[in-house]
Amino acid sequence: MRTVLLLLTAVVLASLPLFAGTFYINLASQILIAAIFALSLNLLVGYAGLTSLGHASFLGFAAYASAWASTNLGLGFAPAALLSITTTTLMAACFGLIALRATGLGFLMITLALSQVLWGLAYRWASLTNGDNGLTLAGRPAPFGIALDGAGAYYWFTLAVFAAAFTLMAVFVSSAFGSALKGTRDQPRRMAALGYNVWLIRWITFVYAGFWGGVAGLLYVYYHRYIHPTSLSITTSAEGLLGVIAGGSGTLGGPVIGAGLLVLLKNYASAYIERWNMLLGFVFLFIVLVIPEGIVPGVRRLLSRKGSGKP
């Protein structure tokens, strides 16, 4: 049953550009990018028990770094992407050193503060970032000579990266290391007594999450061909967090569903309602009140209740 459902989803996703219009293809690309971002944040929020409010740092930094390397250094897309991901991961390593001095609220505040610093720099350091005007990419990359300028081609590219990201993160959380990570979330003191280096486990996860956040940032800047300081703002971080929590933190499907819901709401609601942020707030308030564990675990609970015939 599960395999059939998964296969069906894969077929629909892979063939989407064959039957859907450009608007929907682009919407799907945006959802996939947001999903990678949410999945990477979920490694921290859901699996490490570390709630970050600064994950936009990695998306925004990677996007800026590649745009800057392309426009200012004149690098090709591949070297620019490599440079961008490497520096983003290194930055995550440094941010992790600072943020993991704390857990809980302290961790949240440090991640927020660090991302606010980057956001401020993006506005102020105009010689590098072009300030409020943002950086524009000349075009999209063309890996192996395949142009990604069309909506369909870019969607397939994004889908391929998403599939790799999802698989690798799924393997990560179910691995031996992932089990240790969940242990440090639930019972850190016991884990230390059992011989686990709790700090190092968290730091590695932080860096890994930063890496995938950077990958999402690359896809993001290629998609929009443009990057602006708002991508580094607290709004971007908070939206990612909302997606994770609404979909179900600590699950693999949750962040994908949550990110999808967010992108759809944003695209549809903003066309009709000026204060779409308010609508977003209400939708998430509803979710948090009615299914506090998130959509995916909530639906799963409902289904298992039906299946076992209990009221």
């Binding site: 393997v171 990560f172 179910s174 691995s175 031996a176 290391f177 992932g178 089990s179 240790a180 242990g183 639930d186 019972q187 003191r189 016991r190 884990m191 230390a192 007594a193 059992l194 011989g195 686990y196 280096n197 709790v198 890994y208």
Partner: protein, 247 residues
């Protein structure tokens, strides 16, 4: 001469000015069975927490098997062969009984760093966990969620997790707390069967059961060692009767 399994030298611990450990010095030889007794709040658990590295002592030294570990992290001490159980049950309630033991086993193995191999693929770890659970009589509950098993079974699981690590020094903090007399008898057997290459230090209030397991006894009172020595000598000591056995 072999080094003591545990040596504590002039250990002091203050909690914001309130002393919980006051100039404690102890020597526990390899293979020894030591019982630590004392009234509530005497500082027994606090002493354990300093041995494991959960608390930094205010002053003094702790040596494990001759090595000064006073500044070592808890996980580094675990790798030297130190395991413990908790007075307040500290398990992973969302996970299966077997998974709890697997986590214990994996803590000392290189596998814990593997990010690409699913935990389910470690057949030997799971087999070892099953074997351990059979030993403590929890084999039938291997797949049960820890949150759903009985209190007495959780106490046994605490011990199973520690024993699975084949520790050289095992700290048991009130392993009999809150158990029925039958359950106490089971745990007593379990502790009695621990091989001699494991040194055991146990905190316990249940004298009837615990004294049978002990060779040496330390009486703590207001964070100080009041009486210390062979079991019968400590029991016969008038100070023991006064501060502890009396009530």
């Amino acid at each position: 001469m072999t080094a003591p399994a545990l040596e504590i030298v002039h250990l002091v611990k203050h909690f914001g000015g309130i002393p919980a450990t006051q100039d404690v010095s102890l020597k526990i030889m390899p293979g020894e069975r030591r019982l630590i007794i004392g009234p509530n709040g005497a500082g027994k658990t606090t002493l354990f927490n300093q041995i494991t590295g959960d608390f930094r002592p205010t002053s003094g030294k702790i040596l494990l098997f001759g090595q000064d570990v006073t500044r070592l992290t808890p996980h580094a001490r675990a790798h030297l062969g130190l395991s413990r159980t908790y007075q307040i049950i500290t398990l992973f309630p969302q996970d299966s009984v077997a998974h709890n033991v697997v986590l214990g086993l994996m803590g000392l193995k290189g596998a814990r760093w593997n990010m690409f191999r699913p935990l389910g693929f470690y057949a030997e770890l799971h087999a070892e966990a099953r074997h351990m659970l059979d030993r403590v009589g929890l084999g039938a509950l291997a797949e049960a969620r820890v949150g759903e098993i009985a209190y007495g079974q959780k106490r046994r699981l605490e011990i199973a997790m520690a024993l699975a690590q084949k520790p050289r020094l095992l700290l048991l903090d009130e392993p009999l707390a809150g158990l029925s007399s039958e359950e106490r008898a089971t745990i007593k057997q379990l502790i009695a069967a621990i091989p001699r290459d494991t040194t055991v230090i146990m905190i316990e209030h249940d004298m009837d059961t615990a004294l049978d397991l002990a060779e040496t006894v330390t009486l703590l009172h207001y964070g100080r060692v009041l009486v210390d020595g062979p079991r019968d000598a400590v029991i016969a000591d008038p100070k023991t009767r006064e501060v502890y056995l009396g009530h």
